[in-house]
């Protein structure tokens, strides 16, 4: 049985943060990504303090005002206002909370479920493995966005349901990764040693084997993080994600789509926010991979 993750076998436990940071910081893009991400995180946490207005305060005297550099702008609204007179900048700032929250929640959900299933399948093999892997095959046979759409249609449109759907769609990747890693690690000496010294299944699975697959898992989690944000935005765009007036970026984009000709800024900024966030996370992901994957370090 060929493993789906040939790199796993050679991954050694990270021998210290210092080494990790050395390799990570070599990658200029990763550092930029980390900086942007830190700023986003800061903005998200302190959104109420930073945002010039409340995200759902409606200024009915200022509908669809253009950004500050336009002649018709209103100095109160730096990036302009939306169709019901809400400040776009404030909504984007609060939207950062949603996007990051979606990312974290989905990754944690997908990670927990995926790791659990993957460990079970890889450790016990036999019918447990067959059953779990066939279910993963079924999930993977549907295009992810289509499956998420149908799941959201079933659960009802909304942010929370969208997150559940996306987590479900993303978790097979974790499961496959972990299963392959567990199968690779299972017969190695240190595991046999632990087994001989009387470690139980649970201990073997979670405490002995799992930490050794950490590297690829972290990289996969980063990828899933950005994927989750993109998919949530796509669902929002199709009207199946967060529901207005939630200032989620994809939803903002969707509810502003009719203004594409008249007020392009209501469409432009939320999309830009999504792109910047996802790009920052992917840059970090590349850096993490370089730092955690010893094989690429060589090349």
């Amino acid at each position: 049985m060929a493993t789906t993750t040939p790199t796993v076998g050679t991954t050694k436990p990270v021998s210290g943060l210092r080494e990790f940071w050395f390799y990570f910081s070599v990658n200029r893009g990763a550092v930029i990504g980390l900086t942007v991400f830190t700023i986003l995180l800061f903005v998200a946490i302190f959104a109420p303090l930073i945002a010039p207005h409340l995200p759902d305060a409606q200024y009915r005297d200022a509908l669809l005002k253009p950004p500050i550099w336009d002649a018709n702008s209103d100095p109160r609204f730096i990036l302009g206002t939306d169709p019901v007179g809400r400040d776009i900048l404030s909504r984007l700032i609060h939207g950062a909370r949603y996007s990051l929250f979606i990312g974290f929640f989905v990754v944690i959900g997908a990670l927990v479920v995926g790791v659990l299933l993957g460990v079970l399948a890889g450790y016990f093999r036999g019918w447990v493995d067959a059953l779990i892997m066939r279910i993963m095959d079924i999930i993977l046979a549907f295009p992810p966005l289509l499956l998420a759409l149908v799941l959201v249609a079933i659960l009802g449109p909304g942010l929370f349901n969208a997150m559940i759907a996306i987590a479900l769609v993303l978790q097979p990747h974790f499961a496959r990764l972990v299963r392959a890693a567990v199968m690779a690690e299972k017969n190695r000496e240190y595991v046999t040693a632990a087994k001989l010294s009387g470690a139980g299944h649970f201990r073997l699975m979670l405490i002995t084997i799992l930490p050794n697959c950490l590297g690829p898992l972290i990289v996969q989690a980063t990828l899933s993080f950005s994927n989750a944000i993109l998919e949530a935005a796509a669902l929002g765009f199709l009207g199946m994600g967060a529901q207005p007036p939630t200032p989620e970026w994809g939803t903002m984009l969707a509810s502003a789509r009719e203004f594409i000709l008249k007020a392009p800024w209501v469409v432009t900024f939320p999309g830009l926010a999504i792109l910047i966030t996802v790009l920052a996370i992917n840059l970090i992901g590349d850096g993490l991979r370089d730092a955690l994957d010893p094989k690429l370090k060589r090349s």
Binding site: A2, T3, P6, R176, Q220
Partner: protein, 370 residues
Amino acid sequence: MQADNGRLKDQPKQETGLSQLAAQRWAGTPRARPNMLNYILRRVALLVPTIIGISICAFAFVRVLPGDPILAMAGQHGVTPERYEILREQFGYNLPIWQQYFNYLWSVMQGDFGISLATKRPVLTEFMTLFPATIELALSAMFLAVIIGIPAGIFAAVKRGSWFDQFTMGVALTGYSMPIFWWGLLLIIFFSGYLGWTPVSGRIALTFFLRPITGFMLIDTLLYGNWPAFVSALRHLILPAIVLGTIPLAVIARQTRSAMLEVLGEDYVRTAKAKGMSPNRVVNVHALRNALIPVVTTIGLQVGLLLGGAILTETIFTWPGIGKWMIDSISKRDYVVVQSGLLIIALIVMAVNLIVDLLYALINPRIRVQ
């Protein structure tokens, strides 16, 4: 399973960490098997439970969708309770759930995927009418992605660290991070709205009236020998293809680069270099061919993702393909279309993945390992 994966040092590696992770975003990863025939049989046998599972899922999803198929068919006046009962019976919604499932499975096996609630046409007929549009779009997107992505990846790898490498990889990562629905809107605003270079939507200008032969607009227009129509079809295709091709392009460029880098670092390439072979020859003869194997695999594995991307692209460009058909049917609550559409699409994704896996097992020199 050996700890070291039994990797032979003088063979190209199956995949790099990078390419492999990229591939995972799209679908499963390929595997190699010792005995080809045995492998094929096992692969196909494994499909049977998966297919049954998929049909159960497609069936079950639609049963638990909120809303009522019969009310969905009725207009603003609704239907009378008596009529409602008659229709329930007609559609078999009054039967026990397992019986409904077996009835469904039975008719699917006979090639009957049901009748659309909205249009009263067979779902399969609708699918076959719309599928070529999606295929045409997807193939064009892949074509763009491949002819730009592979050379870009190769040059970036060969000129590693240069400004070209950094620029290309920066662009690729941006493309990879792109919310494509937004990207599509931007392109429409700029190229169709502001510059007026490309049409806004549709597959061909309405002045051309060509009855479909193959359903592929580019091929049909050529079969008719209608050059202006061909140009029109091409102009309509270009923006949607760019939008749908953006992410595959980014993935292919990145993967080509890292696969090349990996191969260029291999002993046999170093040996060739040491023997005094010209750098171009090293790249062309040794590195390229081996580096492209994982790339080709990735290309094949992107079908599921392309279909997902097609939903967004077709929605933005009013492209009459199956992506738009599915999302319209979900919002119209055309239960039969959603159910059978899911099933057909999943079967296609599976079939393509199977073919890719088999091809991979065929061409991959590592096949006899283990």
